[in-house]
Subunit: 406 residues, 2 copies
């Protein structure tokens, strides 16, 4: 391995210069007028992968292309791994908040500052450079690797399911590695081995066929905004637990190892509150913030609209009211089952004198990696070697595995 490490050390300056080239591309997927810059980024990326020695191509989709880059195929039964990344970035607005231009990378105190540096160009570029070090030094890789870099992560990855289905055979692999997450802290590396799922829904309560004068009709006609409040109020208790019947039935409790990991992630709750401008957190005082935000499902009201909420007052019974809600799921909850439980519950609570409409939005399953998974052990070992310092979920020396959210 020393030849590989020597290559990495000898070429670091060039690697950074190349990463800067990559970061200079304003590959913003949320703004269609930046499409040419995004495609220029794809062209640069494919060429760069080829220069490393990978077989690379941009695969057209109904949205932005997916870049597929593969190590030279070696006959034999080596395991195959797929590495995921995305070349698209968030828009840099508001521009006035940037201390240096977002697409002109700079190094400051050992950190690269540029749009996309950590989300997510930097991560998969490091993977590419690792492959380059193997390929350019003629060191045999212990596995086949495909790097799949998409361009719609920031806009919902709409083309990805179709792409994956169409390339199922080519992408069949022992494990998929995603580096589009974080580590708990710079001095606490860790592997993200669980992601919460998501159910979103739009709830309409529909009453009279027009806004009514609350003086003339109030008391005789049900108020859809009040009904909406009463329905939502009964979905969550004051410590944040979801009250929907059967919703929590399949929730997998954290293992003692997971609990121990989360306990170590505590951090300064006073600073957390100060940063957010709140006087306290939600939930049981016995739980720390990482436990509250990862171990349990949630029910959130994301938006409310009804009647007149502008300046002054209109004394009306609004004709209808709407809420946007979302629920985070943990292992082993199922999004469709969770949505159905919500719908059944709300229908059972809703009075007959208004109409309830509820439509599902996102339905994403939670993910949780078994802590005995051999590839997880391999990843933890690699992290231990690379970081030297202890790794959070290295249960050979420590304990636990954190759930981190999508």
């Amino acid at each position: 391995m020393s030849i590989v490490h020597d290559y990495l050390d000898a070429n670091q300056e060039r690697f950074v210069a190349e990463l800067f080239e990559y970061l200079q591309h304003a590959s913003i997927s949320t703004q269609s007028e930046r499409k040419q810059e995004l495609l220029a980024c794809v062209e640069w990326l494919v060429a760069h992968c080829r220069s490393i020695g990978l077989t690379a191509r941009a695969v057209e989709t109904s949205g932005n292309p997916v870049v597929l880059a593969q190590t030279p195929y070696r006959p034999g039964k080596r395991p195959h791994f797929v590495l995921y990344g995305h070349y698209d970035v968030q828009p840099p607005d508001p521009l006035s908040e940037w201390v240096s231009p977002p697409f002109s990378p700079v190094i400051e105190n050992g950190f690269i500052r540029a749009r996309g540096a950590s989300d997510n160009k930097g991560q998969h570029f490091a993977h590419l450079k690792a492959l380059e070090a193997y390929l350019h030094t003629g060191t045999e890789l212990p596995c086949d690797i495909t790097i799949m870099i998409e361009g719609e992560e920031e806009v919902g990855s709409h083309s990805l399911p179709t792409f994956l289905a169409a390339h199922k055979a080519e992408l069949a692999c022992s494990a998929l590695v995603i580096s589009d997450t974080t580590i708990p802290a710079i001095n606490l590396p860790g592997i993200t081995c669980a992601l919460r799922g998501l159910v979103s829904a739009e709830i309409h309560v529909i009453g009279p066929n027009r806004d009514l004068h609350s003086g003339i009709y109030g008391g005789a006609v049900e108020n859809p905004a009040m009904v909406l409040c009463q329905l939502l109020a009964r979905c969550r208790d004051e410590i944040g637990d979801v009250l929907i019947p059967s919703f929590n039935d399949t929730v997998r409790e954290l293992s003692s190892e997971e609990q121990a990991d989360l306990a170590r992630l505590g951090g300064d709750e006073t600073a957390f509150c100060q940063k957010l401008g709140v006087t306290g957190t939600l939930g049981l005082p016995t739980l720390n913030v990482p436990m509250k935000t990862t171990a349990k499902p949630t029910f959130e009201v994301n938006g409310l609209a009804a009647g007149y909420a502008g300046e002054g007052i209109k004394t009306i019974i609004p004709s209808s009211a709407v809420a946007k809600i979302s629920m985070r799921l943990v292992a082993d909850q199922h999004p469709k089952t969770a949505f159905n439980a919500l719908e059944n519950y709300l229908r059972s609570l809703c009075p007959a004198n208004v109409r309830l409409e509820i439509a599902a939005g996102f339905l994403a399953a939670p993910y949780s990696l078994d802590s005995t998974n051999p590839y997880l052990s391999a990843a933890i070992s690699a992290l231990r070697v690379a970081f030297i310092i202890p790794v959070l979920n290295d249960h050979k020396s420590l304990s636990g595995s954190p759930r981190v959210d999508s």
Copy 2:
């Protein structure tokens, strides 16, 4: 009296023509760009009052002028009555809904159609014509009368309290007659002898200093939109009763006469629901619609706004949430007491991890006239004579007195 009646009969055609002149003035108080038309209306009205034989003037206020017209003062101790009306009208929008132009009056099936015909120019114009009949026939009035016609009724009568205080002596009277209400039905005349009061308020629940990602923070940070729903949900039960402690303490129960009047006002509840597009009414099945809308206080959510309620979904914890609410009060509730009860209740319920701001809007006391009031009896007698058919709250022949809302 026959000379007065003869005068009225002989001049009806001219009266209608004059009313049409009055109705042609677009005296819209909600649109400041119509101010000139509103002032032209005032000028016409003062001149018309003078032509009748009244002492009339337009009194400037901080808003629109109040027209004061008085019968010639006769030494002696006759009772003094004040008649209230308003010359301002609602805007006629949407204009496409009018089958004839709003400020070009027409007669159709015995009804005048024009903006302001029934709200409220027609009513006080009838009063003016009654006075004209007395004055032009030289018939002695049994009382002194002041007609006070304001121009801000449709925008909240903001200048009226100051005006009334400044003209207290001049307006001192035995009774004030307001004709800016309705009768239960064209074949059921009645005197409105109670009006519900009103408390409006704006409620803000304020959480984190910005919208937060519900995946990263959900479970650890309280959701202001959820708190708002939970607070409002506990203000009213499923039959419409207000749940605020002490709020209902002073509510005066209806007398048996009032209950009997309201029972007679039943109407077709199926048709009521069909017209509004609802499948049923709110409240106890033993009560009819007039009872539900007049006998009890109410709590209404008039508007809600929080987070993102547009197309799609933003999975956020909104930084804050706002509700506009209003409460109708009945005798003998007090608006300030009711507002304080609401504020105390919400503060007692609100969790400590969010901030609650609550501001009072309108505070209007309920009004209820004692059924033994001699002026009420006089008004009922007059109505009996004028309409020939039975009068709702004529308890010499019938029973009860309805509460009708402002």
